[in-house]
Symmetry: C2
Subunit: 356 residues, 2 copies
């Protein structure tokens, strides 16, 4: 097992990475918890819920299971309320601990429910998708979507612990692996050009879920994310660079309807667009843009932006949380391995959005 | 003007108390705010919204007005979402500042919206009811109700400032004054027997909104609340004493349907019940119980508990946020001016609930 530590004003906690962590989950349940609530989705429930429930019952505490529908389109108030209804029906108290067993949607909804239930109860992240393991389970961002924008309603709320068991990735569909690899290679682009090169040479091993390759990629991703989040929990500065590709990506998800493209797929395509914009605005070397495009394609993500119409693109990007006033701000790369936030006038972005 | 300071891990901020603060509001708007959103309700909008909007426009920033329906029964997800919809329709960014102009419901809903919009924007409390001025606007508790319990969904989220203008109380109905006095006299009961005695001798002046009496009562209430909240922002210990009368009170509000009794009325009656329970469990002197009952009656609040049926009383109180496991915990008075939290077995509470 390997441990990465996150140290934020909102909480200090370990990320445990290791095969078999699922079976060791109960170690992260605090002694004073009065009950445990396992929050998962229909897909994961069928695969792992019985096993995890048995593990948690070893604590001697009552365990309640809540199963949400599966998919980004369910990252809504209705799912959040399904959790509140179940907790209140059982009159569960403030010393309840929630366990988010699933991908980014389960983690975000369960985490936001933990942030709000009785003004805050504790929770543990147990990410079961590659995307959640390398990104969404770390750093305390929780949220639900609003019809006008992704993750618009949420909280910064840190978990007690993140428990990552790479073994669970073996039941993931290939499309989910590709989506998770998009966030993985992102860390190379924004913060570590050596890791980017390593990813280029290990694409096949990563897609085949080779144990050593996956372990290294998850660990390096968590290390970079933990470092950035520890510097800036509430995204008032450097944390925004983690949003590389997300300004375009969120617009794709929202514009096509949540759930059509996986989040990672939209981010993959968004990173290619952001690299292209980096070339036009900051003069990022053309060969780097092409390496980024090639790597996104190699991991199995789309590199061709959908046609949302220029006006809809801009309207959707204008509700991005990074914006100040009505200027759209983008995370751009001055060079491989380094990212900055820049406001860019709509006129300079329009050609890119119309496919030119 | 008098200033009370609140110092919590979640934020340090001033409570400004003084006639004319409404006209000085713009002083609390930070220079880097990109826009200001005035959140109020239909009743307050008719009285003060134009005036306050003009004051805020002096900042030179765009001002948006959101008017919620008036009443505890609207402290819901729908009202919260009315705010989110309006903010997102205008694509307002993270540097937006919300201003809660109204009573406890507006403050709680607007504060929770600020806590969640884009994972947190800044807000200012401008309480217009006595209850909000002495209690709910101070300390960062924000929430909406759930059909199964009051304030079950919310956040600890501190405002930038609390601006209290006692002049606005002059337009309040007498019933609202009585409800606000319930939370005022509570501070005497739990933390300051001299203030309790002062309240006993100034009931008439307070109900008549005598300037000096109101200023003293608001200031002393804010001082006590600020001290308690600064010691324990997240209610893991001493802050729970502020809930004196609220275990019974919340059950009344929820059992009769939110909005039937005003929150302060339910708390007034709840304090009489809690005083009686303090006598039975901790031996609080019978004369103190009678002084509490007499003061609650004198301020114009009910002292006779509604008949909810013993089982419904207990079911409603079991979802109280103070509880641990399934034991109901009550704030009780060992003596006048001092409060403690005690778990009390249902059998000992039942006679009280059935009117014996």
């Amino acid at each position: 097992m390997f441990t990465v530590r996150v140290e934020t004003p909102g909480g200090h906690y370990p990320i445990h990475i290791g095969a078999g962590r699922l079976a060791a989950l109960v170690q992260s349940v605090p002694a004073d918890a009065t009950s445990i609530v396992l929050v998962t989705n229909t897909t994961i429930a069928a695969l792992y819920a019985d096993r995890v429930e048995t593990v948690l019952q070893a604590s001697g505490k009552p365990v309640l299971r809540i199963v949400l529908p599966d998919g980004e389109q369910y990252k809504t108030w209705d799912s959040l309320n399904q959790i509140f209804d179940a907790l209140l029906e059982q009159a569960l108290d403030r010393h309840t601990v929630l366990v988010a067993l699933g991908g980014g949607v389960v983690g975000d909804v369960c985490g936001f429910a933990a942030a709000c239930y009785m003004r805050g109860v504790r929770f543990i992240q147990v990410p079961t998708t590659l995307l959640a393991q390398v990104d969404s389970s770390v750093g305390g961002k929780t949220a639900i979507n609003h019809p006008r924008g992704k993750n618009m309603i949420g909280a910064f709320y840190q978990p007690l612990a993140v428990e990552i068991d790479p073994d669970v990735l073996k039941t993931l569909p290939a499309r989910e692996i590709s989506a998770g690899l998009a966030e993985t290679v992102k860390y190379g682009m924004i913060a570590d050009d050596d890791f980017f090169t390593w990813c280029e040479t290990h694409v096949a091993a990563l897609r085949a879920l080779d144990d050593d390759a996956v372990r290294h990629a998850v660990r390096r991703s968590c290390e970079i994310k933990a470092r950035v989040v520890s510097q800036d929990e509430r995204e008032s500065g450097v944390r925004a660079i983690l949003n590389f590709g997300h300004t375009f990506g969120h617009a794709i998800e929202s514009g096509l309807g949540f759930g059509r493209w996986l989040h990672g797929e939209a981010v993959g395509c968004g990173m290619v667009m952001a690299a292209e914009l980096s070339h036009r605005v900051l003069g990022l070397d053309r060969t780097i843009v092409e390496r980024i495009r090639a790597l996104v394609a190699a991991i199995g993500c789309p590199v061709q932006a959908p046609d949302l119409g220029v006006q809809q693109w801009l309207d959707l990007m204008r509700v991005d949380k990074k914006n100040q006033g009505h200027q759209i701000r983008y995370v751009l790369l001055p060079e491989l391995g380094r990212a900055e936030v820049h406001a860019v006038a709509d006129e300079r972005v329009q050609p890119l959005l119309s496919g030119q």
